[in-house]
């Protein structure tokens, strides 16, 4: 006897990651911290941006950082020098952070009580786009040395983000990067996305970036209050 049976039931292949991301989101909610996932190609300036942000923001808000790297803790060491707490995740062979890695960290190392948690993802414009972590906002950094065609080559990451930062804008006069063209390429994929030009080295655009962060944190706190009110009303 040789029979077969079909098991029909649609199941999302990365459903477990999505469930774990929801779990992380609850965890971040309990900390009352707005969480930002920073993604870019290697060398686009994620760590430099965080260093400058913490220096410029001063006591405007408190932060901690989750650092994702395949090996080593070079970025974590740089962040520690700013006085901000860092939690390292070494991904080993994996080219991206996933929600399970974040969940393991959240259960192993209690995070500091802060207004903001920055997750510095592994430098890669492909894989991190497929793995939500439970963050509230996804930010992509596009360095002006990379070329204004990158949104066309890597559409998924640019479609699924809330903000694109053009980084190292102090180099604009030395490279063939057309900001308008890059912006149009991004908006063709993600019409509602915001874009900003910054330079962590000169400080250009950093005040605007910090104002955006503060606004997001304020909105998040308001959202938590409303959610709490609804919760209490429901009971």
């Amino acid at each position: 006897m040789h029979e077969s049976a079909d098991e029909h039931a649609l199941e999302r292949i990365l459903g477990k990651n999505e469930e774990m991301a929801e779990h992380n989101r609850d965890h971040f909610r309990s900390l009352k911290a707005c969480t930002f996932n920073l993604m870019s190609a290697p060398g686009a300036g994620k760590t430099s941006l965080l260093e400058t942000t913490f220096q410029k923001a001063g006591s405007t808000f408190s932060s901690c950082v989750i650092e994702g790297d395949m090996v080593g803790d070079l970025d974590a060491c740089r962040i520690r020098k700013t006085g901000v707490a860092v939690h390292q995740i070494s991904t080993g062979r994996s080219c991206h952070l996933d929600a399970q890695m974040i969940a393991r960290l959240l259960h192993a190392e209690p995070l500091e009580k802060t207004n903001a948690i920055f997750i510095e993802n592994v430098g890669n414009l492909v894989c991190p786009a497929e793995f939500p972590l439970g963050e509230h906002r996804r930010i992509v950094l596009l360095c002006v040395t990379e070329g204004d065609d990158k949104p066309i080559k890597y559409p998924v990451i640019f479609r699924n983000c809330h903000l694109v930062l053009f980084t190292k804008c102090d180099l604009l006069e030395h490279v063939e990067f057309d900001i308008n063209k890059a912006t149009k390429n991004i908006q063709a994929i993600n019409p509602d996305v915001k874009t900003m030009q910054i330079s962590a080295k000169t400080g250009y655009g950093i005040d605007r970036w910090i104002a955006w962060l503060v606004s997001e944190m304020t909105d998040y706190r308001e959202h938590l209050k409303t959610a709490k009110h609804v919760h209490h009303t429901a009971h």
Binding site: M1, A5, D6, E11, I13, L14, N17, V126
Partner: protein, 131 residues
């Protein structure tokens, strides 16, 4: 190389389905849908799947069948339906506006697992004889 993570997730889903049926079942095939607007290379997933499947209970002979779902969108300005593609920078060929709503192309789903019942039946017979 997140394709190996995708292959592993598919095999975990198959293994879970087998467990829900009976420990002795074998998977013949698994059908998956990959949307065009996902960062997933079918050949890399198939390669990782074939290299990994023997490590999963009942999956050693499981065949992976991949269907690609072509992306379809409504453009932002005029809601024309079109296929967003890199060679036109994902813009609508009729009016050049960008993607308003993506109708399909973001799938990453297991749609069907075919399970072989032969081993299950033989084990049932053996149990009956022993009993």
């Amino acid at each position: 190389m997140h394709e190996s993570a995708i292959a592993k997730s598919i095999l975990e889903i198959v293994e879970q389905r087998l467990r829900s049926i009976g420990a002795a079942a074998d998977a013949q095939s698994v059908e998956v849908l990959f949307g065009e607007f996902r960062n997933v290379d079918p050949e890399s997933v198939a390669f990782a799947f074939d290299n990994m499947k023997a490590l999963f209970q009942g999956c050693a002979n499981c065949r992976l069948s991949i269907s690609t779902i072509i992306a379809a969108a409504l453009c932002k300005d005029n809601e024309h339906q079109y296929r967003p593609m890199a060679n036109n920078a994902y813009r609508c060929p009729a009016c050049a506006s960008g993607i308003g709503k993506l109708l399909q192309g973001e799938e990453l789903d297991v749609v069907n697992v075919t399970v072989e019942l032969e081993r299950m039946e033989k084990e049932k017979e053996q149990h009956a004889r022993v009993g």
